[in-house]
């Protein structure tokens, strides 16, 4: 069964303390892996798409990497405004004219000043 597992469930960091969030996946044929940021009471905001192992994407203090079994979201020198829930999702080969995503349950990140 296709599934996505994120760890840790929650992470508390001090401002400037770098760390990584993990997304491990089991899917029969990965077509894409996606990272989203979600603030409380709002819809997820798209961050990155990764398509193949070895690929990396960066945006400000965030860097996403991909291997054949997992993805990491590295946060360098985080600031309080980086506090949010980070969601990972994979696109599986369902076929047809669609692109269903399988989501993990997210990592709640809190960055304290």
């Amino acid at each position: 069964e296709d599934q996505v597992t994120q760890s840790p469930e929650a992470l508390r960091l001090q401002e400037g303390e770098s760390s990584s969030l993990n997304c491990s996946y089991t899917v029969s044929g990965l077509r894409g892996l996606f990272w989203y940021r979600q603030d409380p009471g709002k819809g997820p905001e798209f961050l990155f798409t990764l398509y193949s192992a070895g690929e990396e994407k960066e945006k400000e203090r965030l860097k996403a990497t991909l291997t054949k079994k997992e993805s990491f979201l590295h946060i360098t020198a985080p600031k309080p405004e980086d506090s949010a829930t980070y969601l990972c999702a994979v696109q599986a080969p369902y076929g047809g004219a669609t692109n269903k995503l399988i989501f993990g349950t997210g990592t709640l990140l809190a960055v304290q000043p």
Binding site: G32, G43, T49, A97, K100, T105
Partner: protein, 114 residues
Amino acid sequence: DVKVTQSSRYLVKRTGEKVFLECVQDMDHENMFWYRQDPGLGLRLIYFSYDVKMKEKGDIPEGYSVSREKKERFSLILESASTNQTSMYLCASSFWARPSYEQYFGPGTRLTVT
């Protein structure tokens, strides 16, 4: 910028009422999706549509129906609302083909059924 809008941010309905949630996107996306999000369960797909008047069931379609009469608009219908449908409802849209499969989400509708 991609814009996905939802008709209401907060909605309170009574058990048994028929509820309409509307979603509009302005990016000419072929695919549109309805999810619900509950604590500890993550995002679960209710229905999706890959073309006008086309729809497919997601993982939890029971108690819901959808309508897509125009490419930019996708409606979720709760035929007879029940308390276990109290949730955050999220609409999303995406292109059908590469280069970008990513889904873009609306702000969400917090539905409370009493």
